[in-house]
């Protein structure tokens, strides 16, 4: 019964939130954010346990695995663009990943945060499915890693283009890469709204950041952030 109730509640809430977002296009009404907050409110208001919700929607969490594998298709599709500009793209993506890891870990360490929080939030620039998988392997907090990724994504949709314009970033390819590397899939969707060139480079940024993080972060966490 739990399975039916919570699965239906999640799918229906997300569908409604997606409809609302498509009608308004207001970034802070992003369907992931709205449906998460709505469902948390429902769990709290009905006095149910979170464990009950987790049990009822376990099968949906399993889909994240094949979902990560499915990202191979867009990476393969963009292979020509990636090979043509391999040097520049790799430099930008690896620098962005290193910058993201270093700044997040640095600020959190200064604030006295523990290893699990530092590792989890250092993955904010990585698409949520991969960030959560890496956090799980590192025995950090997968949920916090996912929240960090969602935060970066929603912030990217809301403020990314405006902030980049203010910072003097006007080249559409650079805008796309910044949104793809920093705000992953949601940032990429926002980049496509700005133009095809921005969207294409955001897709490349997202794809390469995902691959680079998947290869670099697990051993890095094993070596330095244990």
């Amino acid at each position: 019964m739990n399975f039916l109730i919570w699965s239906f509640a999640t799918i229906a809430t997300f569908a409604a939130a997606r409809w609302l977002f498509q009608r308004t296009k207001f970034p802070l009404l992003h369907p992931v954010l709205v449906s998460t907050l709505t469902l948390v409110a429902v769990v709290e208001a009905t006095g149910r346990h979170y464990a009950e919700y987790a049990q009822g929607t376990q099968w949906m969490g399993w889909i994240l695995g094949p979902g990560v594998v499915a990202m191979a298709a867009p990476v393969y599709h963009l292979r020509r663009l990636i090979f043509t500009r391999a040097g520049v793209l790799l430099t930008v993506v690896l620098s962005a990943l290193a910058f993201s890891l270093a700044t997040t870990a640095g600020v959190l360490a200064l604030c006295g945060a523990g290893r699990e929080i530092i590792q989890s939030l250092s993955l904010k620039a990585v698409t949520a499915a991969v960030a959560m998988a890496i956090a799980r392997e590192a025995h950090a907090f997968p949920v916090v890693a996912g929240i960090g990724a969602m935060f970066a994504a929603v912030l990217g949709a809301a403020l990314g283009p405006w902030m980049l314009h203010r910072a003097g970033v006007r080249d559409p390819r650079a805008v796309g890469l910044a949104l793809g590397c920093g705000s992953h899939a949601v940032g990429t969707a926002r980049a496509f709204e700005l133009g095809e060139e921005q969207g294409t480079f955001a897709s490349v940024g997202l794809s390469l950041t995902t691959l680079a993080a998947a290869l670099i972060c697990p051993p890095l966490f094993m070596l330095f952030l244990r």
């Binding site: 990560v68 600020v107 890496i134 006007r170």
Partner: protein, 121 residues
Amino acid sequence: MGRTGLGLAVITGCFLAGDFAKRRLGLILPGSVLGLFLLLGLLGARIIRYEWVEEASRLLIFVLPTCFVTLYVMAGAERTLWREWGAVIAGTLTLTVVLLWIFTGRLAQRLLRPTTRTNKP
């Protein structure tokens, strides 16, 4: 539907193979990521054709956000964490995400400048 079904089977197969390899060999990479590299390898070697997985991949990526929600909701259970660290986490994320966009955007703009715009993708 046939092609989508085939694609879903291929993608799920890669995931299960990656997960099996991870557990069997004790690798540090997540099984799903190993599956991603396996599928990339199969596509690159043309053992799997892109058209076979294109629709299924789009479908999975489309439903992925719904699956995230089920995990994000679990964050509500971490009350102590949010009470103690909520402000630090929100502040750090906002600051570092904005810095990351600016760093990446300016670096990309600088490195892409010498190339002529005729090389558009």
